[in-house]
């Protein structure tokens, strides 16, 4: 357990899936103002005059140790149609020594998992494709990336739900709305969701 400030503690966990499971259980208890899962940690924010730091840490620790509830409904696989026409697709393929056909085949063959939501509304970090697919982020971020852009860095795929600055090399885009203010549920994507990309020709 580590302190992030006067009103936040964070606990390290092994995997993104562990972080999501712990965060979900903590959210159900409604002891905290915010419960956020990182890629390998969970942070909780509280009002220090309502809960002491020691109590906050104890609640998190006990929840971590408590018997894990049986997995709730298994998330159904979501398919996202992707146009592989990003400005860095060629550069990414070159770094990986793959033809674009081979990269697209590999990228559409695996089931990706949403490891984390964050940064801005609708941004999703999808699980790593493994060490052999690691590429660097851009040396300096773009000022503006369009909503629906799909990035690829560190073996991860990143989905941009919103237009804004971004540092991931872009491999493509989807015309689907990842974040929709008008929708009843504005978040198309949830943490833990399995995702398969479909090549839009």
């Amino acid at each position: 357990m580590r302190s992030l400030g006067d009103d936040i503690v964070e606990v390290p966990v092994d995997t993104a899936a562990d972080a999501q499971a712990l965060a979900q259980r903590l959210r159900q208890q409604s002891s905290f103002l915010q419960v956020i899962s990182g890629l390998s940690s969970v942070a909780v924010q509280y009002d220090p005059l309502e809960i002491s730091r020691a109590d906050a840490a104890t609640i998190v620790q006990n929840t971590l140790l408590s018997k894990r509830a049986p997995a709730s409904d298994v998330a159904t696989e979501m398919q996202i149609s992707i146009h592989y026409d990003g400005p860095e697709l060629a550069a990414v393929c070159e770094m990986l020594s793959l033809s674009s056909e081979a990269f697209i085949e590999a990228h559409t063959a695996v089931v990706h998992t949403v490891d984390m939501l964050g940064f801005t509304p609708g941004f999703a970090y999808l699980s790593s494709m493994g060490k052999s697919y690691e590429v660097e982020r851009l040396p300096s971020p773009r000022r503006l990336v369009d909503a629906g852009s799909i990035g690829f860095a560190g073996g991860r795929t990143g989905l941009y739900g919103l237009a804004g600055p971004g540092g991931w090399p872009l491999i493509g885009r989807t015309s689907g709305k990842l974040f929709d203010v008008e929708a009843k549920d504005p978040f198309l994507i949830q943490a833990g969701m399995p995702i398969r990309f479909v090549h839009a020709q």
Binding site: S3, G5, I8, L39, A43, T120, G122, A191
Partner: protein
């Protein structure tokens, strides 16, 4: 029951309470950058402490009323006029139909709050009426106000003339001290005394998302493979270039840079008034001291303001 914007200034948005409990979906807090000043404006008019109001940035606003309404202006020090006649901040002003209200450029501080008796009409999204411009939601069509925008007011309540007691007027100044605690990666700093105690300058890269601090470049150990983790308003991140970045109300929810400090809850409202060129010092506090000071501050302000839990 409306007002019409004649000149929106640099950036005027409708801000209210923070958007609570959605950070895990990537949704930032938003809300007034200086919630204490917003609360002071609402207090004068008998509104709920964080009722939606106008948040002005640096160079004020000009609007005309189409209805009788009482208003109050708080926050940065700035000259205010009603039909050309100067009036005081921190006091209830009765505005009549066709009256023109001007809030001038901020002299010290950055943001002014203009509240209306009864409150104004704003779009609520995920439990808050605060504007978050990057995702275009909340407030007035999710964006900054533009010339000729018409803002609807709720039924204006009748309120007596009143002023904020001088003991509850926040001092605006070009030098600030922020009490701050260690954060998760403070130990990556080669010398924490470089952070706590050095005077930094607020850079021109400052907005509702965050504030870059100029001055000393901090020596920070590179830590390979830091995993993206939660960040919060008030957190100080430090990229490898050693230039600390202070996260604001609209800050992103996760980040991959070392988190080297966090401004204590009780001083977060000051972030909304840090102005390019201002001097800022972080003063170290352990968590218990910060909590004790928060209790004292809530007790003090609780004599004038009602519900402080989302304010400080």
């Amino acid at each position: 029951m409306t007002i019409r914007i004649l000149d929106p200034g640099l950036q005027t948005t409708i801000q209210s309470a923070p958007r609570a409990g959605w950070r895990h979906q990537g949704v930032p807090a938003s809300g007034a950058a200086d919630p204490l000043s917003l609360a002071l404006a609402n207090r004068l008019l008998g509104n709920p402490v964080l009722a939606p109001a106008l948040e002005l940035t640096l160079n004020g606003i000009r609007f005309v009323a189409a209805t009788q309404v009482a208003i109050a202006v708080t926050g940065a020090t700035a000259g205010c006029t009603l039909n050309g006649q100067a009036f005081d901040q921190h006091s209830v002003m009765h505005v009549n139909v066709d009256d023109e209200v001007v809030v001038g450029a901020a002299e010290h501080g950055v943001r002014n709050y203009v509240a209306f008796a009864g409150g104004l009409v704003a779009q609520s999204f995920l439990g808050s009426e605060s504007t978050y411009m990057p995702a275009v939601f909340g407030g007035h069509a999710g964006r900054a106000l533009e010339k000729d925008d018409v803002i609807a007011l709720r039924a204006p309540a009748l309120v007596p003339k009143m002023q904020t007691p001088s003991a509850y007027r926040l001092p605006m100044q070009p030098r600030w001290t922020l009490r701050a605690c260690n954060s998760a990666e403070t130990e990556l700093l080669k010398d924490p005394a470089e952070l706590f105690g050095t005077t930094f300058t607020v850079s021109n890269r400052s907005d509702r998302m965050g504030i870059r601090l100029d001055g000393a470049r901090l020596a920070i150990e590179a830590k390979g493979g830091m995993q993206s983790a939660a960040v919060f308003p008030g957190m100080v991140q430090c990229p490898s270039d050693g230039r600390p970045y202070l996260l604001g109300a609209d800050a992103q929810t996760t980040g991959g840079y070392p988190r080297i400090a966090k401004v204590a809850r009780l001083d977060l409202h000051i972030l909304g008034q840090l102005r390019c060129g201002d001097a800022v010092k972080l003063m170290f506090r352990d968590e218990q001291t910060a909590a004790d000071e928060l209790q004292k501050k809530r007790r003090y302000w609780g004599r004038w303001l009602e519900d402080l839990t989302s304010v400080i």
